[in-house]
Symmetry: C2
Subunit: 369 residues, 2 copies
């Protein structure tokens, strides 16, 4: 079992305001990031990991709020597939997030929280902020960028827009564009948050308000279904009852799957800001790498033909199914970029990239090691 | 194009209190039902149609609230697959519903609305009420029972529990038990309703309160995603924008799929009672025909070996996928019941049973005609 690593908790204030895809500019951008392992003198051993929608920079360190292990402790550490005895690993909280990087809960220049005055950002904006961070850290070229789910979108955006900056790009369980169904699920979550009167148009910070916890909880529940496979849910819960021998003929959580979802929803509200959830899901829904390049995905990767790619999908992932990864691979093939592609078999659905899938460990180790 | 039929709007008060699977008894049960076509003198030409979760008795008549055509006008009418020039078609609003049959919005014996005092009911309870209705109408034996989605569950429950009462059973896009994923989606919807402060523990009737419209709307949005296929959503909406040329970089419904879902959610609140949604989804989640029979699905159909069955699934239905229909068919095979089974190809996902699928029309006509 991996154990939490000692890590460096850092913040970095960008030297310049951050230009955004919307045309707006975000001033006073701070990034909170964790690092693991020593940076080589030539700075040539840096791996940048991008986290997923509800992830954060605590990749392999105990989470400061939940006290739980880092979200990728099984993958990142000494001797692990992303080997911190050889590589200097950096993971920054995305802008728009709520774990120390500038987001809607932070104070705008007028001294009041941004709330819904925070500008709508894109996946590329999130990457742009981290490229600026790399610039200030004096890191010109990365050994690899790595990301799963939304993190994979950032990795692809990094490769497409800053093609000279990474030797390797590893994109796991991800997509080059959000589908109508992806958008639909996110929209349900946003509407659940906005329907909660405690959301108050986003102005729930301070004043003792608790924020739209119920709405955020429902949003998390809906999203959680998409992270698991139907077969995985059946295997994990089936129709088993929760702490009872018979149905209650009431509205308690009779079934284990109900109890599980309620728990996931409530636990999430303790560590996540609802407005961040709105902004990040919006950024994901806006993501369409082909559109950015004029409509053809291959054109997005036109400058990246010298980058080595690895694309991994899971056969039970119905959120970003293998067909989405194939689209990416076809586009990379069209620009003759060197790309490895594998669909792994794992029972856990989309969440497979976070879970015990030994084949994933081997592929990651082989590609970044 | 089918047109709304003249229909008989009827209500019927059950002569006796209705015993429920919970052990409770529901007094003063009223059923609201529509009929189409003439009943033969020997009452041998009756087809009972069971409606789906959010359906109602207005199968082929204009809906009194929405003014829209009946939900199966393409299927039920003179010369149509369920031919009302030959058959007398009955469809009753289920108990627990909100279109005239006894449900949570109705008054309990103390003169106040049941609200959440309404007993939790099962699919079999819904059928039991309609069997009592048939008894009072003097209809001993049906030519056929027909249902899609939840209506299919009622049809299967009818066949299993009252095996001598129908010659033919047609179950479309349905399942013999709700899966963990099915339960999970319903639980999200229930939590969305219950999180709405306007739900007020279910006591929102009268007093000028509007009820949990926002929560019910979110519930409907989440459910709607499950009624459509991913490919169907992509074809229908893709990433197309709604009434604009570019993304707004805001939280309006930029995408058509967002606008569609919001509309579906809001429109639903005008015609459906939130407490009914809670009770009916609960009944569906409780549905497990095998469990009722001691754990083996075939045993549920032990008495139904003389009934003719037809089971239809759709290849793009991920709510009740074809595998669920196969389970039903295998169980029927095990008791040597005559059963036809077909998986139809249609792009519309679960909603295919309501939409323009000519192959469905042919199968229905062939089986009940």
């Amino acid at each position: 079992m991996a154990t939490a690593l000692a890590s460096q908790l850092n913040t970095l204030d960008l030297a310049s305001p951050l230009p955004l895809d919307s045309g707006k500019v975000l001033p006073n951008v701070r990034l909170a990031y964790e690092t693991y392992g020593e940076m080589a003198a030539d700075r040539g051993n840096v791996i940048l990991i991008f986290h997923a929608l509800t992830g954060d920079q605590f990749v392999a360190a105990t989470h400061p709020i939940t006290g739980k292990p880092g979200w990728w402790e099984r993958m990142v550490g000494p001797g692990l597939p992303i080997d911190t005895s050889r590589y200097h690993v950096i993971c920054a909280n995305i802008i728009g997030g709520c774990m120390g990087s500038t987001g809607p809960a932070d104070l705008a220049e007028d001294g009041a929280p941004y709330a819904m005055r925070f500008p709508v950002i894109t996946i590329r904006d999130m990457v742009r902020a981290q490229v600026a961070m790399l610039d200030q850290l004096g890191i010109d070229r990365l050994h690899a960028v790595v990301g799963g789910s939304m993190g994979g979108m950032l990795a692809l955006s990094f490769a497409a827009n800053w093609p000279g900056r990474a030797d390797r790009v590893l994109a796991i369980a991800t997509t080059a564009r959000h589908s109508a169904q992806n958008i639909a699920f996110h929209e349900v979550g946003r509407q659940a948050i906005m329907a909660d009167p405690d959301w108050r148009g986003g102005d729930y910070y301070g004043g003792g308000g608790k924020g739209p916890e119920k709405g955020l909880s429902v949003a998390r529940m809906a999203a959680h279904i998409t992270y698991l496979s139907e077969a995985g849910l059946t295997e994990k819960f089936g129709r088993r009852l929760q702490d009872r021998d018979a149905k209650s003929f009431g509205f308690d959580a009779d079934f284990q799957v109900e109890s599980y979802l309620r728990h996931q929803g409530i636990a999430f509200t303790n560590r996540f800001d609802a407005n961040s959830y709105l902004y990040i899901t919006r950024a994901m829904d806006y993501f369409d790498l082909a559109e950015e390049a004029g409509g053809r995905l291959a054109d997005a990767f036109a400058g990246a033909s010298a980058t080595r790619f690895c694309v991994i999908s899971f056969d039970t992932d119905w959120l970003y199914p293998t067909a989405e990864s194939r689209n990416i691979v076809h586009a990379l093939n069209a620009v003759a970029a060197p790309v490895s592609f594998v669909e792994l078999s794992a029972p856990f659905g989309h969440d497979s990239f976070l879970l015990d899938v030994p084949a994933l460990d081997r592929v990651v180790k082989g590609f970044v090691g």
